[in-house]
């Protein structure tokens, strides 16, 4: 049988596999040019590789206007049902009531399957009190919550809100981050490591699998903030079992987000 590494090295589409991008975005961004960053452009790229679905938060959502970002993602999810799912992005710098209303409103649409914090962009820690309504919502609904933050700010909420599935964004971008994330995951069964990030540190994915097991590691790419192709290569070329690659690429996300039966 042809290995995944051989298939990727040949540029072969992976349509026959379950590949789900658990960390995607959408739209333009102030800091740099994002070619083809709309929903249609993202789908073209996903089709080129064989990515079945992505879970997305709008660039506006992690930046200036979380409601506008959630609108963008809702439109993308409606245009490409079963291919694009949403994270409900929230911003703790706006009133708590606005956050609660946004969570309820988006959740009832069925397009959204998780919650997104960008603590780094919004300059507010994930364990701060103003994020509490979102943690409570994730806990009550057993939702994945992807946070771009330092691991130290996720330990408390992971323990307190046991229903929430805490996805640590960019968890293997550096050895320090990986070790902290793995340590938290070893103590808390509701913690997962997202592999998204631009520097593909040699050996980091293998180390993550060794420390926490492939079942706790998720394929994420930042599409279209960053191109998803390199992350596919990183997983395919990793020195880990083929079955572990398949879990990381999509099987874990399908179970975590409850996507079975909802994919196009």
């Amino acid at each position: 049988m042809t290995s995944l590494m051989e298939r990727v090295r040949a540029g072969e589409r992976l349509d026959d596999l379950l590949v789900i991008d658990a960390h995607a975005h959408m739209g333009r961004w102030f800091n740099f040019h994002v070619p083809d960053g709309d929903a249609a452009g993202m789908i073209r790229t996903m089709d080129r590789i064989g990515i079945k679905a992505c879970v997305s938060s709008g660039h506006a959502g992690i930046g200036p206007d979380f409601i506008l970002g959630n609108d963008d993602v809702a439109r993308g999810a409606q245009a490409f049902p079963g291919r694009i799912f949403g994270y409900i992005a929230v911003n703790p710098n706006y009133p708590a009531q606005e956050m609660r209303e946004e969570l309820e409103r988006r959740w009832t649409t069925g397009c959204f399957v998780g919650i997104k914090f960008h603590a780094d962009m919004h300059k507010y820690p994930s364990d701060g009190a103003r994020y509490a309504p979102a943690w409570e919502f994730a806990h009550e609904h057993d939702l994945p919550l992807l946070s771009h933050d330092s691991v130290g700010h996720l330990a408390g909420p992971a323990e307190r809100y046991t229903g929430a599935k805490v996805l640590i964004a960019h968890a293997i971008s550096s050895l320090d981050m990986l070790e902290a994330a793995a340590e938290l995951a070893s103590r808390r069964p509701n913690v997962y490591l997202d592999i998204c990030g631009s520097p593909l540190v040699f050996g980091a994915l293998e180390m993550a699998v060794e420390k926490v097991g492939a079942g706790r590691v998720l394929f994420g790419t930042d599409l279209p903030f960053i191109d998803p192709r390199p992350q596919v290569g990183r997983v395919a070329f990793a020195k880990i079992a083929e079955t572990d690659k398949l879990r990381i690429l999509g099987e874990n996300a399908a179970a975590l987000f409850g996507l079975e039966g909802r994919l196009a």
Binding site: F32, D36, D227, R229
Partner: protein, 246 residues
Amino acid sequence: MDFFDCNCMVGRWGQPLPGQFHSAADLERELERCGIARALVFHALAKELDPETGNAALAEDLSGRERLSPCWIVMPHHTGEMPAPEELCDRMTQQGVRAARLFPQAHSYSLEEWCCGALLAALERRRIPVFLDHDQTNWSEVDAVCGAHPALRLVLLRVNYRAHRSLYPLFERHPNLHVEIGLFVAHNGIADCARRYGAQRMLFGSGLPHFTPGGPMANIMYADASDADKALIAGGNLRRLLGEVP
């Protein structure tokens, strides 16, 4: 696809992470495993200790290893640590070295003409491609170097996904400016760049042993570009640049 990696290192360095290797034999094994035919290699000692020491160690480490091609780390000659530019180029030619790399930040010298002009002019005359990490310079310096040395084959390494707004005007101004795509992970970045400026401006480089080659290899193979363009990026452009050295 015939991959020729333009950015690899051998030798012990100060801050290896668990699992990262440093010997030429281990590098060859990883290249073989990944299906990379050849690699252009510099020595860690030349960056982190002294170019002369590291370049000599490189010759020893690469001896008999056909898959690995040497790249010397060079710098200006004024302190006497490095031969004068023409003599340096003669030595490179005598030892079969067809590529040079600069670390102006790490080695504490200026890329401006009063400091590097003679060195860059010699490398330009000899058509020796020069490799320069993006974090060792800035866009204005790149513009100045390419402007002062229009025939210099400059390859900017580890250019990241935030580069378009400065990189594209430089591509328009300087036809001999190239980028290594190891960290150029902008969405559809390879296809967009190939469409605007041609695939001849991009080179495959992994950054081994610091980074995994699977990322840039997948980025090339899944790019919305022709097979001919992919072949240029994967290795054709580096072969051309090294082949142009007399």
